[in-house]
Amino acid sequence: MKPVVDLKYCKGCNICIYMCPKKCYSKGVDISPRGYFAAVVSEPQNCYNHKREGKLICELCVLSCPDQAISWHPEGEETK
Amino acid sequence: MSLTPGEYFLQGNEACVEAALVSGLNFFAGYPITPSTEIAEGLARRLPEVGGAFLQMEDEIACVSAIIGASWGGVKSMTATSGPGLSLMQEAIGYAAMSETPMVIANVMRGGPSTGQPTRASQGDVMATKWGSHGDYQVIAFAPASVQEMFDLTIKAFNYAEKYRVPTFVLSDAEIGHMRGLLNVPSNIKIVNRKEKGVRRTDEAYDVPDDLVPPFPTFGKGNKAAVTGMTHGPDSRIEPEDPKIHQELVSRLNDKITKNRRDINKWDLLCPDSKHMIISYGSASFGAREVAAEDDRIGLLRLKTIWPLPEEPIREAASKAEHILVCEMNMGQLYHDIKRVALEAGCKKIELLPKIGGEPPTPGEVRHKLREMGAI
């Protein structure tokens, strides 16, 4: 599974960047439709849950995201 | 078991307790304060007998908060207090008005300001009841003048609180609360229950349109009600910034009471066509009642509802009377409002007999004042 940042909700607080122990996230460079520098999942392959199905572990980013902007999606799924 | 029909000899506060139980009271939160303590004491004993809950809170703010909470659980709830307690409750009374919570507050008035005369009667909280909380809102208040009326009007208070979803007051005072008298419990007492959301209405009491009093979304029934004291739209979404929504909400809260004055207002009239009218309410009317009974030149309009003010009978009395004397146990609170209505109706001479200190005006004092006015 890979984490996906929802640009509709992200307010660019960068808590995910701080929390992720595997450094999957990095600061955004483009302004999101809501006017924030939304975080980017730059290294999804570092994530503990990379290629993992069933019960997920870690999940610090999902639990910490104050704006409910991060969710899990299967690797193959197209997301924008 | 609530009281069976028949005759009883009870104290005013005890009559209030029994009336509350007859009305289906299920939750009471109280804090000791003279002279209302007997209501809390009585309900502490009686409520567990009928399967209700009694809770003694840490202060009056907590009492009124707890009964609002209980009311949203779908039960009838009540608290009892006196002047200083009413002052503490004001914020939550505004909250109840804004969130449209049915609840009853029995205020057994005592002399103020501040601690004042804890054991003596007064009518000093009349304006505080109506205008105490900030913002524009309406409440319903009844002023009983006997043990029997304490019973009858407490039941009415519960019925109107449920019907209009509004905080409702029973404004008695130390005189009525501690007076013992005959109580006649009739067999056919009309009890109004809440119009709940999602429940088909069967009671003819709900003749108020939904756009004024919306059905009550009781908690725990899947209504997903978001109750808030902030300005909210009809779907209970908070909209503190929208002038139109605020205007619509607050006007409806006021309209649901003022447009239903005819239904809410109760009064008692002695010698209606007199040239000399006394207007009074509660225990301040004791002396006036005696004067009007003895002298058929003197009429008495005794208000049982004081909020919203029964303008109709005042207007009618004022259009026929030359003199109007307002008897109150304060420095003149309802007087100014009565004067406004009476002046509009064409009466020129409206005077006040203010009596403070704890005793109702005596018949002698009322006669003396009438003589001073040139009425008799």
Binding site: K8, Y9, K11, G12, C13, N14, I15, I17, Y18, M19, R34, L60, V62, L63, S64, C65, P66, D67, Q68, S71 | F27, A29, P48, G51, A53, F54, L55, M57, E58, D59, I61, A62, S65, A66, I67, I68, G69, A70, S71, W72, G73, G74, V75, S77, E91, A92, Y95, F219, G220, K221, N223, K224, A225, A226, V227, T228, G229, M230, R237, I238
Partner: protein, 272 residues
């Protein structure tokens, strides 16, 4: 239940500032609630006034957003009227400890069944950053421009002393521990308090050289000490709350009989 079955999606995004800890607590609460498999129809969320007290309005359930500081009193009445409902109170440090301090202490004492989640951000955030009862000593706020001259209040210890059944304190850096504690509290009877030390980068951090949420989280991580260890530290315990360190962990877990059991209203629900 998906996260947006639990929360009201039509009200998203919520009002909280970027980096606010309230959203983190919302995630943890949703996670705990979902893992228990509870029904939202049987739960009522009560709150007072403040940033954290807005949370119930975002939950897809019955919510009572009340006056400032009185949430515990409202919840007490509601629980006694409808003992079959589960009551969760969301509140903040100013709401619970300052204006509602009396209701809080007596709520713990009375031990009426409810779960209180106090999001302690050390500041009055909604009004723009005034010092609260938990602002650490010497820290800046708009009402303490020369540094806070007072000492902070230890909400969790008060709850222990006043008789709450379960008391725990975590920070928003400890999301898994927090989720676990919320789960324990939800399942437990009696008055349960979970204090979450949370970041307010906008109004607290910004004035104290921690304007970024991640700096504040790092501060929590560096300064939090488990309660077992904090007890042995040779420092005055009252001053510990955030001035030097945050005491975290479970403070108490006991089974005092709760009020509604003692007065026997437990079976009231059958009437409804």
């Amino acid at each position: 239940m998906e996260v947006f079955d639990f929360y009201r999606k039509d009200r998203w995004p919520h009002v909280f500032c970027p980096g606010c800890g309230n959203g983190t607590v919302m995630n943890c609460f949703y996670r705990a609630f979902n893992e228990l498999g509870w029904n939202l129809d049987n739960t009522v969320f009560v709150s007072g006034i403040g940033c954290s007290s807005r949370i119930p309005l975002y939950i897809n359930a019955d919510a009572l957003h009340t006056t400032h500081g009185r949430a515990v009193a409202f919840a007490s009445g509601l629980k006694l009227a409808r003992p079959e409902l589960d009551i969760v109170v969301f509140t903040g440090d100013g709401d619970l400890g300052a204006i509602g301090g009396n209701h809080f202490i007596n709520g713990c004492r009375r031990n009426i069944d409810m779960d209180v989640i106090c999001i302690n951000n050390n500041i009055y955030g909604m009004t723009g950053g005034q010092a609260s009862i938990t602002t650490p000593h010497d820290f800046q706020s708009t009402t303490t421009p020369y540094g806070n001259r007072e000492y902070p209040f230890d909400l969790a210890e008060i709850a222990v002393a006043a008789g709450a059944n379960y008391v725990a304190r975590w920070t928003t850096r400890h999301v898994h521990e927090l989720t676990k504690s919320i789960k324990i509290a939800l399942e437990k009877k009696g008055f349960n308090l979970i204090e979450v030390v949370s970041q307010c980068p906008t109004n607290f951090g910004r004035r104290n050289k921690m304007g970024d949420a991640s700096i504040m989280l790092e501060w929590f991580k560096e300064n939090s000490v488990r309660r077992e260890k904090a007890r042995s530290a040779a420092v005055d315990h009252v001053d510990l709350n955030l001035a030097g360190q945050v005491t975290i962990g479970e403070f108490v877990n006991r089974d005092r009989e709760c009020y509604q059991e003692r007065i026997g209203v437990e079976k009231h629900g059958e009437k409804h």
